[in-house]
């Protein structure tokens, strides 16, 4: 200790000069690292720019390519939708993608709002895709064509971009692989999901009775009645018909009714 650091004022001087040397070294090192990082970032940026430039049309028009691209972006932690609002350089690279997604979001809102009267704010994802395609003038029955088509993936992403608006748009899985978009902020319990799923079965056209739930799902009368009445009275997700020949009360789930 003594010999290494010396004693008295000399030791103090030496200590200061050592610290200064370390400082200098540290600054040099971090400057080098920063420069290195900056050059890496700039080459990444250049690469991404040229990639986006070269494949811009593909990104905007080919759903498969767009899907892979957004997957890639999320895996490297880049948000392609950061968009013009944040003023990031990303928006300059891919003018159109953020807009494209927002535009799709607006169309999704448009359809959800304009069909709310007839479906109570629940729309099947496939139906939403069909209406968006119709709205965009994409001919039906040509889903195979890759150009300009809209996929369920695109809609799901758009619904997520609507999140910050706080309008309560949500994707709900009702089982057997079918998804619905809910545009009214309500809680959908698991019994209601079962009812929705049953009402959508082929040939039912949204028509549901208490007996069906008892017979087909093994529910108690009370549970069936309670769940149906919640949907009817609390949430307005179904309409009631009191003129059925057999049943006192038949429930019609509006989002599952088939309208021409």
């Amino acid at each position: 200790m003594h010999r290494l650091n010396g004693v008295g004022l000399a030791a103090f001087d030496r200590h200061t000069s050592t610290a200064r040397s370390y400082d200098v070294l540290s600054i040099t090192l971090s400057t080098t690292q920063l420069n290195h990082l900056q050059s890496q970032l700039s080459s990444f940026r250049t690469a991404l720019t040229s990639f986006a430039m070269n494949h811009r049309d593909d990104i905007l028009h080919d759903p498969m390519f767009r899907h892979r691209f957004t997957q890639m972006c999320s895996s490297i932690g880049v948000d392609p939708l950061a968009g013009p609002r944040k003023g990031g350089w990303w928006a300059e690279l891919l003018p159109g993608l953020g807009d494209w997604q927002y535009e799709l979001g607006v169309q999704v809102v448009d359809i959800c709002v304009s069909t709310r009267e007839r479906n109570g704010g629940m729309i099947e994802l496939a139906e939403l895709v069909r209406l968006v395609r119709k709205l965009r003038g994409i001919p039906e029955g040509q889903e195979g064509q890759k150009a300009n088509t809209i996929t369920e993936e695109d809609i799901i992403r758009s619904v997520k971009t609507l999140g910050p608006l706080g309008a309560g748009y949500q994707i709900i899985d009702i089982g057997d692989g079918r998804k619905m978009v809910r545009s009214v902020p309500k809680e959908l319990d698991s019994d209601q999901a079962v009812i929705l799923s049953l009402a959508r079965q082929p040939g039912k056209y949204g028509r549901i009775t208490q007996n069906e739930l008892v017979e087909e799902k093994g529910w108690t009368t009370g549970r069936a009645r309670g769940a149906l009445d919640n949907m009817l009275l609390r949430d307005g997700l179904c309409w009631v018909d009191e003129q059925d020949k057999v049943h006192d009360r038949v429930y019609w789930v509006t989002s599952a009714m088939k309208w021409d």
């Binding site: 013009p84 109570g120 119709k134 709205l135 309409w239 018909d241 003129q243 309208w259």
Partner: protein, 217 residues
């Protein structure tokens, strides 16, 4: 950014009303024997029952009001009664019943719909002091007043005394033919406020004299 799109690229969605033959249960529009196009909601069984959820009720009721107003205009009907939904065999059968799905508008719901129409000033209880029968304003009284004045002017009847009967049952059929007297009276009251009409007592009962818009007699 998003708000910008809301303002600028609002797109109207049109739902084509086509008839789908492959799905018998699908809700489709229907043209009645008198040539009236019923909207597809009219083929939905629950449409004929009064809904319990307030939002559903107001949606369905609004649809019913539109159908009633349009059908009244289509067939020049001025009156609808709660009784019209109770038994068949009247001029409202095509609208108040749907035999294809075996449904009829329940009288209690029709009564509610009529009350809504009265509160929205799209109809008035006639006679007053009861709630089973209404006079339908498929044209508002103000619009009838203008129609009346235009008709009087175009037929050269300004400044002459006319009976109510001459207006509602003219030798040449007009858009005012069959106009109920209470509605005619309202139209005349509206015109008299701008000095374009004056009710007089004449030998046959009541008469009316119309004046040009300047208001001078």
């Amino acid at each position: 950014m998003l708000l910008y799109y809301f303002n600028c690229s609002r797109i109207k969605i049109e739902y084509p009303e086509t008839i789908n033959l492959t799905h018998s249960m699908a809700l489709s529009t229907h043209t009645t024997t008198t040539g009236f196009l019923l909207p597809s909601i009219h083929s939905a069984p629950p449409f004929f029952t009064q809904q319990l959820h307030p939002t559903s009720l107001s949606i369905a009721t609004e649809q019913w009001i539109q159908i009633i107003l349009k059908y009244a205009k289509h067939r020049k009907l001025f009156t609808i009664r709660v009784e019209d939904s109770e038994s068949p065999g009247n001029e409202w059968d095509e609208v108040l019943r749907n035999e294809r799905i075996n449904r009829r508008l329940l009288p209690s719901y029709l009564s509610y719909i009529l009350a809504q129409m009265v509160s929205q000033k799209l109809a008035a209880y006639e006679p007053p002091q009861q709630d089973r029968s209404v006079l339908i304003y498929w044209r508002l009284p103000e619009e009838w007043a203008e129609t009346l004045h235009e008709w009087v002017t175009s037929t050269g009847n300004l400044n002459t005394i006319m009976t109510f009967y001459e207006i509602t049952d003219p030798p040449v059929e007009s858009s005012l033919s069959g106009l109920p007297i209470p509605l005619l009276r309202q139209a005349i009251v509206i015109l008299s406020k701008t000095n374009r009409a004056q009710v007089l007592t004449i030998s046959e009962g009541e008469g009316v004299r119309f004046f040009p818009p300047t208001g001078k007699p």
